[in-house]
Subunit: 386 residues, 2 copies
């Protein structure tokens, strides 16, 4: 049985945070997560940091030393980058650190500042997660996911209306999340009438450009765990990769990295998909949540289009699994490096009964899926009540 | 006693490699290190990748998935970035992976492509490793290290000629390294007459802009180790951080991160500085090797200026410690993400008697020091003969 625990979580609001720099956001969540757990910076043995694009956007690298300066520490600070899975990867490496270091406590931070440059510039920076060939072809991520959506809809006979149920559900949830970027409900009709970005995907099928930071504290120290109010067990954290170029994949109706990572994660802890009651999945575009539901073993292949319309994964459905209670990337916002940490944080809140008006009843096991690029990297984490 | 071993090493030549892309270089060393060890790609359980600036220079992120595509694998691929210590950090995290995963084999790659853009653009990209304030002040890395050099020279009463002995030694070594960028001897006079970049540092005090890749294989699998011809034990790998801004440091005549990391490394394996017979230190500028010799405990504080002129750390001196037998960053070249791996690789060659005309006699223990920025990150690795 794993002896690794998430013991605290803090996040900024996600959105257009023009008054805050990247490191303002990092400093905010660091101070806040330490305060919530009543730990001192000196009790942190290492820091893991997920950020994708500060190098491109603000010529800002070597964040490890920048964080060391903020925290006033000489401890190791590890920056990891795996596109939009940078946060999940930071968490994953932090669990590895604990496996290698008994009696330790680790701070994991994800952060991204995306709104300080123009939309074309941030779109171009996001393209850095695609293959060179895809970039040269002018394929942006809406374009790449539009191809996946088109293939899925044609193979399984679904329409744009089936996809639209994803953002409608996730906006419904975000109303209940005070840190979400978009706290308003939307209708199927609004989604269908929103402008196309890359047919068949529309504005309201797409996660936004966001600023934000999130942090969790992880420990395997029995003494530290005794002192904190809340803890959740890390049951599994697995990573898998796939080809960066979608043209080199055998199938386009699945993200193979998610399948491999989730199968490894279920096997590692002996929990099955049926036992998960709360999941945060990487809905960067509506199609991505449908693929995730199938790839993670919640629903059978080809079934997601019809299952999503039943609303069974909505908080108010009373079903056995609630998906993206935080609002997901779509409505909670998607500061790319922060997303993987926010997902873990949402599970932490749900499994410790701290999710207030969006609390999932009787949540015992939670799963987070964080995806890089068009599926070149996937991180799957399973947490459980202590 | 550590059960982690370096079992293979491959490097490209370092230099202006205009015929090769970043991933050409990665593919070359990957194929070559597998071939040398007679291992298959399928026997690699994870990949760690150090690269600093491909995001800025060629809008190229998410290398994890790009490497997965090159290697034809679904295994985890972790990209780490810590400025010029990116390679050392990748190696360090790989040793952590082995601590957490028994019976595993890991490929560690460092690579950088710096000559495809103009010198001002690469200088600007390198500045991303400094604080925002330092960048705004126009402080490039030659400028930052020039300040360290000036402080050291004035505090301990040394001249530019003392500094010049570093590159003269390292060029002497590089003549014996077929993969080095500059395989020619230089004289003290040539160094002193070379143009200033940032007084008191001159062109011949400074490591060059380089392309290159290097790879090592690491294992803790007894079966794999039995099958390979060479292995070297990983005795310690430690990381420490310091403030990113030099103005926030208490002293400027030392890199505190190197002191902390090396003290931790010596303590971890019970080896003392006196027992090290071959060291690769981060001589990005002449002053950096002098500081390293003191910070790593080889020489007393303030002594390096006078010790370096004795030539005792030269291959032909017959001393107890040879430093930068590869030619160091100065003469072997400094493709930043690759440097930390090349340092480990040089120790591997030295400790297994494969260093040909630059072989250090009776080398039993080796130390590598890889520095990020102006000392915001330091990675210290100690390897020993099996």
């Amino acid at each position: 049985m794993s002896n690794k625990y998430v013991i605290g979580y803090s996040t900024t609001k996600f959105g257009e945070l023009w008054d805050y720099s990247l490191y303002d956001l990092v400093q905010t969540v660091t101070g806040s997560v330490l305060e919530k757990t009543k730990l001192e910076a000196a009790q942190v043995d290492a820091v893991f940091y997920g950020n994708m694009m500060a190098g491109i956007i603000e010529n800002n690298l070597h964040s490890g030393a920048k964080l060391a300066e903020l925290l006033g520490t000489h401890v190791p600070v590890y920056r990891t980058e795996s596109a939009c899975a940078s946060g999940g990867m930071a968490f994953h490496l932090a669990t590895m650190y604990l496996d290698a270091h008994p009696d330790s406590t680790v701070l994991v931070i994800g952060a991204e500042k995306m709104t300080d440059v123009s939309p074309p510039d941030v779109t171009s920076a996001l393209q850095a997660a695609a293959s060179g060939e895809e970039q040269l072809a002018g394929l942006t991520f809406p374009g790449l996911y539009a191809m996946l959506a088109r293939m899925y809809m044609e193979t399984y006979n679904y329409t744009e209306e089936h996809l639209a149920h994803v953002p409608v559900k996730n906006h419904f949830h975000a109303v209940r999340n005070p840190y979400a970027q978009f706290r308003r409900e939307i209708t199927i009709n609004q989604v269908l009438k929103s402008p196309y970005i890359a047919t068949p995907l529309k504005v309201l099928d797409s996660s936004p450009i966001s600023d934000g930071a999130a942090a969790v504290l992880l420990t395997n120290s029995p003494n530290i765990r005794k002192r904190v109010a809340y803890s959740v067990r890390v049951l599994a954290s697995e990573v898998a990769t796939d080809t960066i170029s979608i043209k080199h994949r055998r199938r386009m109706d699945t993200l193979q990295a998610s399948v491999v990572a989730s199968n490894k994660a279920y096997a590692a802890c002996g929990i099955t998909a049926k036992e998960i009651s709360v999941a945060e999945v990487h809905d960067c575009f509506s199609i991505a949540e449908l693929l995730a539901m199938e790839d993670l073993g919640f629903w059978a292949k080809g079934e997601a289009g019809s299952r999503i319309v039943t609303g069974e994964t909505r908080l108010d459905a009373g079903g056995s699994l609630v998906v993206n209670a935080s609002g997901g990337l779509k409505a909670s916002g998607h500061p790319v490096g922060a997303t993987g940490i926010k997902q873990i944080g949402e599970l932490f809140l749900q499994l410790t009964g701290q999710a207030d008006s969006r609390q999932v009843a009787k949540a015992r096991y939670g799963l987070a899926q964080n995806v890089g690029g068009s599926g070149g990297t996937a991180v799957v984490t399973i947490l459980g009540q202590v």
